[in-house]
Structures are given as structure tokens and as C-alpha cells.
Symmetry: C2
Subunit: 475 residues, 2 copies
């Protein structure tokens, strides 16, 4: 939309994410996910289905949009692009507040689609109706009890909530489910596609002002072609960030830009614009999909324990993987400092095999009280910024393993108590058992990553955020 | 050993990997894996256990090494370092052929350990007995029917066999199990630890000459401190490589070198030496543990279909992940070329939604004959070097999925028939189902990777090997 009044934007966004009335045009057995995603989580407002069917999922359907009441808060539109303009006109006439336009094959596909899309934009621009899409999956709002997918968590997020805006629908789906699997909860999520009306920056703006959002995440492909100044608008919003914002950008390479143009038809932007955004604002640059997954987990669990020292204490039980892990951490510009005297001698006197120099390689004492003591002493060293602990799932979750597990949890809690992030590297190895152990850690709110390197990249983003934050709070 | 006669080396190595007689000193209930790793796979030679027990796993034990016959081919020594020199002397006196010294806490631990290790070296040097270790896990030989771990595949490898030598024991274990899970089989594997006698290069030399090895892989931490010229020896062997050799090096950073010295006590080497090794020889530089896993899989399945063009056709069903995938592939220096005319128009006429430009993003036609046809035409383009196909496991393996799966297998077989590697990216998402689908692909000999980027790195190594190979065959 035009980058106007934040109060006006909030008003529309609240109707999108927390509607009191919803319509689906046209509901059918073919799109069960929208209907299920609403009724299965106990949406308490009015739900209107316009459909060729008489009844769907036990709900009486309407024949035509004209039979619906005016002023519906949120309407999902799933129709062929040929009939789209006609339906949108009707929605505007009935003063529907917000729309999600699912229909694809528009600006991203061919000239005919682009023509329809332009007309769509013109209609919306001159109306009081706001829309996301076309070519997108839509909305997930835990507090609003609506979800475009029945597979997203039904838990209403109340603390550390993440909000996500994305140009890609499938990526949104995979990201949300993955985060849910790692215990991360969302307040509001929007897959916005070609951004014919509401754009990426509108959502960042809303998330930044919304108290239910504590962490902002975004997948960006390009600025809306309908608002030439979206770049400046985004820069302005990000300069005034009140919380962490993790932004992954697709279409960095020339070949990637080509893929963007046939995906969302947005204008893949120049890296120079983004370089200056990341330089001038506290927004965190995310380089890959995997880094987005991992950094969201890290910020979710370590939001208030951002490291002030760029160094890692590595704890493993594998000499070779420790050596390689150190190489990867150092390659990222993070130190793995040697434990210094007098602590070194003290720790050395406590073991008869293994190494306490950093990495800590302490075979055979994982179940002992001494293991906790050694880790605690090393964590306390002032030149240690955070901890990466690599472990593997056992063949059996027996009593012996429980003792080892509890030792890890004690070390984790101790590290958090002294404000040092504790990240677990749990590689995919024996994946069925790995899944069980992952779930156990998630219950204990431990952040999990699939490798030392990926944990280290997440740590680096925590560190960078802390550094940027202290810079912007001083300046 | 001294870098002597290849025939002499072969003779010792054959006794290590294909012994006719084995002794374990000292066998106990505490080290069941060595005994199980031998008896459970039907080792047909003589097995002698020296133990405090009378009987272990149904085998009568000997009280003392003096009761054993002379000239035993392969002996595993699991004793405290304080008694090590005494036992080694006895082994030499009895003319035991090869030893695996498991004992740790030597050169990698403290001055006392280093002193024992030096004496160990002197004893062996002046003997006819050859040894691996100390501080290592030992030998896995499918043809020899011996394994230091009962969890390694019992399948005797007969084609495309991989041989692996490694300074790290735990890393070897994880690597072999992981490769087995992806259908990769080994002929011979050695975890060699501190390399007091036989060193890393001896194994590379043997693997290069051995017909049962078709792919060489190695994890290297440092040159043996007992043979100052191992670097030159390695360079000489690698200059005459007869097969792919994938080499991962640990201890690249200063902090990593420190970790090496407390891990295997080898001399972590200068990056300059390795830069020239990789420049002057066809050996493939592997940068991370993950890349070692992936490249082994790629070479195992695509050994004879190395790409001659450095470009990828990307096939996905997710616009956002396609855009990001392209960015990562291009970042690696691999092209993702646009499909050219007249093929572009031909393919465009075959679809009504999606994209055929590259990436191919073809929603909703995966089960159709047309999907195979479009992919086939794109694969045939001369500027396409290989294919990365990203897919996900279904919620249910129903009939509809089977049709889609068979379409993928047809495309895979077609690509291989025209000598273009076909690599599947199957991210860890819904991991239980992912495991089932992975196993299904493995049965059909399809190489699997956890991300587009990791598949692309494996592709790059296939391409680089082909390029180096044609360079060295010309020069």
C-alpha cells in the first residue's frame, strides 16, 4: 500500500491477522487446507464459504458473493485468473477489508497475466480494500486462530514470538514447520507473493510496531514493481528497528534474478542497495535458507543472552570432528581461544586422558560430576563468548544416558545463567534416534543445530546483533 | 614405514587387511566390538584371544602371549600404555606380522606418553613387524571379514569400492556408517592414529596400487613426526594417481593445529604444502566433513559419468528454494544457464503454468508423462553438465506417489545414459518419511544429498576430477 499512516496500516493488518469474519471464495474439496486451517484451530468468528457445493466440512455454503454481508474482515480468493478482476470488483463494492489472492499465473507468468495484475493493482489502489498476493499461500496467525496450513502449530504464541513475511509460499511452509519442530513458535506469518498491494516492507513495519512480535524474519525476492520507493521505505523502517530482524534475500546472482522474475515477478534488487541496508541498519543479513532456520532458533532461545565476546568454547567427544569444527569456526572469524593459566593447570590436574585446552575433548567422563565442574570452570573464563557442544544420539536411552543428558542440561543452564549462549550441534546420524533426542532437547528449550559450523554461524549472528545494538543505542 | 619397496608394502598391507590369523591382546568383555566385529562376519582364519578370562564369546582364551604360535598375521593390542613396550617386544620376538595398537595417552597426551611412543617407534623400525597406531580404532576390511565395529556393513564390496585412511577414529566410524546408510561400500578402511610406523601415505600408496580400491578417501591431520620426508613421499604418490582421491585436511587454522597436537600428536602441516599438492596432482581437495560425505557418494555413483560442462539444470517444486538454490550454485562458480531457443519455445508450448527457463519449476505435472518429456529435452541441451533435482518425502507412499517416483527414476536413468550426473537434493524435512524415501532411492542407486548447495559441491568435485584427469592424461 502507499507508505502512509502506521495507524491505518495497523488497522488493516489487525484485520488480516485477527479477523472477526472470514470468507473463502471459492471453497471446494480441492482446497481443504484453508478450511481445515481455520475450523480445526477453533476460529471463533464468522466463517462464510462461497462454493458450488451446498455443504463443506459441515458448513452451509453460499452460492454467490452477493449473498454475503458487507465489511468482511478477511477474504481468501481461490479462483482462476480470468475471473479475478470481476470478483475483486465485487469485494471492493462490498467493502471487504482485506483479501488474500491465491490465484497464480499473473505477473510472474506472461504478458496476459501481467496485464490482469496491473488492473488488479489499479482497482485496489483506488479502494478501501487491502490485499496480499496474488500467487501466494496467505496467512498464519496463532492468536487469530487462522492458518493456511493445517500442519502448523496450533499453540498460541505468547513469548519470544517470531513473525515472518515471505515472497515464497512453499519456502514459508517448510520454514514454519521446521521451526515448529524445533520448538519455535510464531505470532504472525504472511506469504505475500507478487505484492500487488501490501508489500514486504508494510509487514516489516507492522511487525516492528507489534508487541506480539519479538523477532522479525523475512524472505525477500524483490521490491514491488507498483511502488517505486519501497527501497527507501524499507531503509527508513529498518533504521528504527526495535527488535532483531533476520533477512534472507533470494536473487543475489544474475541467474537467481531470472528465477525471481518467473517466480514472483518482483524487481530483484541490486546487491548495493542491500549492502547499504545491512550497513546502515541493525538488520541481520542471512545468507542461506539453512542460516535462516538456524538463526531463528538461536534468537528464539538466546534472545536475551547475546554474546559480547566473539569466541567459542567447543566441547566434543570426537578428536577429528573437534579439529574440523575448530577450522570451520575460525574460518568464520570466531576465535577458539586456548584455556589460559592458571585455569589450564587446574583443569589438567582434574583429568587423566583427553584434552582441556579448548576444544574440551573429555572421553569417558561425560556422566561424572567432574564433567560438569570442568565445563563450568571453562565457561566462566572471561574470554569465552559462547559454547558449542557436539553430541550424538545413543543407541538406547537407558539410565546411563539419562545421567549424561542431565549433565548436559546442567551445563546448558549454567551457561545461560552467566549470559553465554549454549548451542548444541546434533548431526544427522542414526536419524531416528537423533529425532528422539532432538525432541527431548526441545522440551528442555535447548537450541539444536545439525553441525558445528551451522551452530557457529547462528552464534555469529547473535554476536553481530549485540554489536549492532550497542552501536545504535550509543549513536 | 620407510618408503621402500611397494611389493614389501603390499605384502604387509595384505596381512593387515586380509589376515589368515588374528590375535587380540588383551581381549575382555569391555571391548566386545573387536571380537564381535570379527566373529560376526564369519572370519575364516585362526582367531586367538589372550585374556584374563577363560572363555569369551564361546572362544577358549590364552593366558599369555607366549602360548600363541609365531608369525600371526594381524594382532590387536588393547593394553595400558605402561605395559605397551613389553608386549610389543614379545610380538616382535614372535615375528608377528602386523599390529594394531589401540592404546592411547601417548604422543598426543604428555611427555611421558611421547617418550613411550618414541621407544615404540625405535623398536618397530628395527624389526620385521609393521604397526598402525597407537591411539586408533584399527581396521575394517570387507573382503578380509574383519571390522573394528560390528555396525559396519558386512557386504563384501566388489565394485566401485571405496578405501579410506584416517587419523581420527571416531570420524572414521561416523563416516563409514553414514556412507553405508547411503549405499556406499568399502573394500578397506584404516584408522591409524598417531602413525608411529605405517603412515597416511603408505595407505594412499597401497590403495592406489590395489585393484579392490576404485575410490580413495582420506582424512589427514599431519605428517608422521617419525618420517621427515612424508610430504615428498605423498606428493610423489599423488602425482601418479590412478583413481579419484578425495582428501580432507584437519588443522588448517592455527587453533585447529593446536587441536591436532592434542589429538594425534602428528605435525599439522602448512597450507602451502597442501596448496601445491592439490595444484600439482589430480587429488581432490575436500574442505569439510560434509563435503567428504557427499563427494564420496557422488564418486561412488557417478564415477564413470563425470561432467565435462560446469553447469547445472535445476529441477524443483518450490519457487523460493529454486531462487536460493540458483544463488548458491552460482556462488560456487557453476552456471545455471537459461534454456535456449528453439528448445525454450518448444518447452513453453508444453506447459500452462510454472517455468521451463532453468530452474524447471513444474508444479502439478510431476506424475505426467510430459514431466519426463520436458526434463529429457532440457537434459539433452549441450550446455547442461549435470542435474540437481530437489524433492521431498510425501506424507504417504501411496499409488500417486509411486507414479511420481517412477518418473524421477526414469529421468535419473535417462541422464545417466547420456553421461550427465543426476543428483537428488532431499532436505531433512519430516525426517522419518525422509529416511524411508532415502532408503528407496538408495535401492535404486540414486545419489542423495541434504541440500542443493551440498549436491552442487559434490558436482563441482566430479567436474574438477574430470578436468584434472584430462589435463594429466594430456600432459
Amino acid at each position: 500500500m502507499q507508505h502512509g499512516d502506521i495507524m491505518e496500516l495497523k488497522d488493516y493488518m489487525n484485520k488480516l491477522f485477527y479477523p472477526k469474519s472470514i470468507a473463502i471464495i471459492e471453497a471446494s474439496e480441492k482446497i481443504p487446507w484453508y478450511i481445515r486451517g481455520i475450523i480445526e484451530r477453533g476460529f471463533e468468528g464468522e466463517l462464510y464459504l462461497v462454493s458450488k457445493e451446498k455443504k463443506l466440512f459441515g458448513i452451509e455454503c453460499y452460492n454467490d458473493i452477493s449473498e454475503l454481508p458487507d465489511n468482511i474482515d478477511f477474504t481468501i480468493i481461490v479462483i482462476n485468473k480470468r475471473r479475478l478482476l470481476d470478483i475483486i470488483k465485487k469485494c471492493i463494492q462490498k467493502n471487504f477489508q482485506t483479501l488474500h489472492i491465491f490465484s497464480a499465473g499473473l505477473g510472474e507468468y506472461d504478458d496476459y497475466g501481467a496485464e490482469i495484475e496491473q488492473k488488479l493493482h489499479d482497482l485496489l489502489k483506488n479502494s478501501n480494500t487491502r490485499a496480499i498476493g496474488p500467487n501466494c499461500m496467505g496467512i498464519y496467525s496463532t492468536g487469530g486462530k487462522i492458518s493456511y496450513s493445517p500442519y502448523f502449530s496450533t499453540k498460541i504464541c505468547e513469548k519470544s514470538c517470531v513473525s515472518f513475511v515471505s515472497h515464497s509460499g512453499d519456502l514459508t511452509t517448510r520454514y514454519v514447520i521446521k521451526e515448529n519442530e524445533y520448538g519455535v513458535n510464531f505470532s504472525t506469518v504472511a506469504s505475500i507473493g507478487n505484492s500487488v498491494d501490501l508489500n514486504f516492507t508494510d509487514f516489516i513495519n507492522y511487525f516492528n510496531e507489534n508487541e506480539k512480535t519479538e523477532i522479525i524474519a523475512g524472505y525477500f525476492e524483490g521490491f514491488s514493481k507498483y511502488y517505486k520507493s519501497e527501497g527507501r521505505y524499507l531503509l527508513k523502517i529498518l533504521k528504527n528497528l526495535k527488535k532483531p530482524a533476520l533477512i534472507l534475500r533470494g536473487g543475489v546472482s544474475e541467474q537467481g534474478k531470472r528465477a525471481v522474475s518467473s517466480h514472483t515477478g518482483t524487481i530483484a534488487s541490486d546487491s548495493k542497495i542491500w549492502d547499504s541496508i545491512f550497513k546502515q541498519t541493525p538488520a541481520i543479513k542471512i545468507n542461506t535458507y539453512e542460516e535462516l532456520i538456524d538463526s531463528t532458533i538461536a534468537f528464539y532461545y538466546c534472545k536475551n543472552i547475546c554474546p559480547t565476546v566473539k569466541s567459542i568454547l567447543l566441547i566434543t567427544w570426537s578428536g577429528g570432528k573437534a579439529v574440523l569444527g575448530v577450522d570451520r569456526i575460525v574460518k568464520l572469524g570466531i576465535d577458539v581461544p586456548k584455556i589460559q593459566e592458571p585455569t589450564r593447570s587446574k583443569l589438567q590436574s582434574m583429568i587423566s586422558i583427553g584434552s582441556i585446552l579448548n576444544p574440551l575433548d573429555l572421553p569417558w567422563i561425560g556422566r561424572k560430576e567432574k564433567f560438569f565442574e570442568i565445563c563450568k570452570i571453562a565457561i566462566d573464563e572471561p574470554y569465552i563468548g559462547g559454547i558449542i557442544f557436539e553430541t550424538f544420539a545413543p543407541l538406547e536411552f537407558d539410565k546411563g544416558y539419562e545421567i549424561y543428558y542431565n549433565n548436559i542440561i546442567r551445563i546448558f543452564k549454567y551457561a545461560n545463567s552467566v549470559k553465554k549462549p549454549f548451542l548444541i550441534s546434533l548431526p544427522y546420524f542414526n536419524v531416528i534416534q537423533r529425532e528422539k533426542l532432538k525432541n527431548k532437547f526441545v522440551k528442555d528449550s535447548v537450541p539444536i543445530f545439525p553441525s558445528i559450523e551451522r551452530a557457529a554461524k547462528a552464534f555469529l549472528n547473535l554476536y553481530n546483533y549485540q554489536k549492532k545494538q550497542s552501536f545504535y543505542s550509543k549513536s
